[in-house]
């Protein structure tokens, strides 16, 4: 027996290939949408992995430092360092900032890190070029995605920083490249007001008789001094000593320091289940709509192709072709179309994914699920056409 579906496809391959390309681009878009979601999850995981921390110590009652604002005193880390099972503890600040430099205008997540010692949590873990920050001020390490070169000078708030090193795959949970600077600079940048605001604040403080009390000389100066420093950081990142579980170390910090402590697993669930939840739902909606549109297109095309062959189907039935054979012919064509679409979609998605501004992760397992879904959709979509074909009366071939 010859393959009727195969012969029909070979005969009108132009029609098939062009509809296949159209369908393929749609499937490519669908795969890319799934890749966007996977990329977001991966960005979140990489952010946590690359911080080198086992525990995140943040302000009590907050989901900080990535999902909510968190502020704790910058000397808390000393107390934490002294607790059992703590191998390293380092302050860290995060500040999202828009940086213009030459032609570049990039949004970065500025991370303030402790630079006095190498290998502390929060620091960039590996460099692709240059060196780590060695001075306490005005040096930066940037993710290559930000587009800076070594030696570039970037301006954050009022200060200029020299890029001394480049790192890779260090991005915020929203996909912005990271820029590492020394902690003190970052604290200042976070806190920094413009000159007018500073003058304004000084004037207001001086006008307050409680602070400007002639009976207490030096009080005003002390108050003003306290107003111009930022003693806060967003979090303390803790590395646990071998032999201790993160939870063992976390419990006493929660209890004695009255701070919130998250483990790696908890942090991941905050990022994925809370921070990118809405975005994920948004993408899921798109995926559902795209799947429906693809199904409608396959159904419509297969139906049209079948209706265009009503005469031939009547003749096939008249000469004794079984319904099963005719249904198989239609299903095979739908699957053929799905196959062309899948291959083109996969190729298209692979080609255009790197061009997208955000990271797109095309998981092979997603491709497998997509393939199965496409096949199911194609078979379901061909049911309408099969119904129409089975209703064809062989008497139609004889005519009046």
């Amino acid at each position: 027996m010859i393959s009727l579906a195969g012969r029909d496809i070979a005969h009108s391959w132009g029609k098939f290939v062009f509809t296949g390309i159209g369908l393929g681009l749609l499937i490519g878009v669908t795969m890319t949408m799934a890749g966007v979601y996977r990329g977001m999850v991966d960005d979140a995981k990489v952010l946590l992995d690359n911080s080198g921390a086992d525990l995140w110590v943040v302000q009590q009652g907050t989901l900080g430092p990535y999902a909510e604002a968190s502020s704790i005193y910058d000397d808390e880390y000393r107390g934490i360092l002294g607790m059992a099972g703590v191998d390293a503890a380092a302050n860290v600040t995060y500040l999202t900032s828009q940086i213009s430099q030459g032609d570049l205008d990039v949004r970065v997540m500025v991370a303030g890190i402790v630079t006095t010692e190498q290998g502390l949590p929060g620091q960039p873990r590996f460099l692709v070029a240059g060196r780590h920050i060695t001075r306490g001020h005005y040096e930066a390490v940037a993710d290559v995605k930000a587009g800076f070169q070594i030696g570039d000078r970037v301006k954050i708030r009022r200060n200029q920083y020299t890029v001394v090193g480049l790192t890779k795959r260090m991005v915020s949970s929203s996909g912005d490249p990271m820029l590492f600077i020394p902690l003190k600079d970052a604290q200042e940048a976070q806190f920094l007001k413009d000159n007018d605001a500073i003058l304004n604040q000084r004037r207001r403080t001086a006008a307050n008789p409680a602070f400007n009390n002639p009976a207490v000389p030096g009080l005003l100066d002390a108050v003003l001094a306290s107003q111009s420093v930022n003693p806060f950081v967003n979090a303390v990142l803790v590395r646990v000593k071998p032999g201790f579980t993160p939870e063992q170390v976390a419990e006493p910090i929660r209890k004695w320091k009255r701070l919130q402590v998250y483990t790696r697993a908890q942090m991941e669930s905050i990022l994925i289940e809370k921070l990118i939840k809405t975005a994920a739902r948004q993408i899921a909606m798109f995926l559902v709509i795209l799947a429906i549109v693809s199904a409608a297109i396959v159904a419509f095309i297969i139906y049209t192709l079948t209706i265009g062959k009503i005469r031939e189907i009547a003749v096939l039935k008249l000469i004794g072709t079984k319904n099963r054979t005719i249904a198989a012919m239609i299903i095979q064509q739908a699957i053929g179309l799905g196959l062309i679409g899948f291959v083109i979609g996969k190729i298209a998605a692979t080609f255009w994914a790197p061009v997208f501004p955000k990271y797109i992760l095309l998981e092979p397992s997603d491709a497998v699920i997509g393939f199965v879904l496409i096949m199911v959709i194609c078979v379901l979509a061909s049911l309408i056409a099969i119904r129409a074909a089975l209703k064809v009366d062989p008497a139609e071939a004889i005519g009046g």
Binding site: L4, R7, L318, I319, G320, T321, K322, D393, I398
Partner: protein, 234 residues
């Protein structure tokens, strides 16, 4: 008469109640093996209805039909798989050739054998023999759309004949052809009828081919009357 076609008191009513149409009102016909008979009648007289009943694509209301010695209908279908009956016992030729556009000429003819479970090679070999007999073998690898009308019609006839069915039903097979080609088609049908002992009914309005029939059935108001034909040699 063991082979051939026997129709006894065949009735066919379309619809029920007020809209009912009695298309066949007791048709009687006999076509012997190797015989080609004409079936003529005014429009609406029931010619196509009769062919559809014989071809097992619509069910008669009552009567009896015997094809190739087998009683296929006696007040009800005597056969379960009507598709297989059509495939193995009846060849159809229509006014338009209705070839399958996506199969080449040889597979259009061979398909019916393949559907019956013959191997592709054996089916194609038999198809080729027929195409040779019908003088279209040189177009065997062409697609139907590349053939002339007459060539297409000959391929359609080859398709009807390839399974050597005991019965061939043709509805206006020569309508689109000029008189030379129309006569050529009739000649082929007559030769095939002789060679394979096929009983052939040709529905026609075509005056050109009337003289080729030895017997012609006239059908009027759903009833048949036999009339001797001229049976001239072609």
């Amino acid at each position: 008469m063991a082979r051939g076609i026997i129709i006894e008191d065949l009735h066919k009513q379309y619809g029920v109640g007020d809209t009912a149409v009695e298309a066949l009102k007791g048709v009687n016909m006999q076509v012997g093996p190797g015989e080609v008979v004409g079936l003529v009648g005014p429009s609406g007289s029931g010619k196509s209805t009769l062919l559809k009943c014989l071809g097992a694509v619509i069910e008669p209301t009552s009567g009896r039909m015997i094809l190739g010695g087998e009683t296929i209908y006696d007040q009800k279908w005597n056969i379960k798989d009507l598709g297989a009956l059509r495939r193995d016992s009846i060849g159809f030729v229509f006014q338009a050739p209705y070839l399958i556009p996506f199969l080449d000429v040889i597979d259009n003819v061979a398909l019916i054998l393949m559907l019956a479970g013959h191997s592709n090679d054996a089916s194609r070999k038999r198809a080729m023999d027929l195409l040779e007999a019908l003088d279209v073998a040189h177009r065997a690898k062409a697609m139907p759309s590349q053939l002339s009308g007459g060539e297409q019609q000959r391929v359609a006839i080859a398709r009807a004949l390839v399974s050597h069915p005991p019965v061939i039903l043709a509805d206006e097979p020569t309508a689109p052809l000029d008189s030379e080609r129309a006569l050529a088609v009739m000649k082929i049908l007559n030769e095939m009828a002789k060679e394979y002992e096929t009983a052939i009914i040709v529905v026609t309005h075509d005056e050109k081919i009337m003289p080729t029939f030895k017997r012609i059935y006239h059908i009027r108001d759903g009833k048949t009357i036999e009339e001797a034909g001229e049976g001239r040699a072609i």
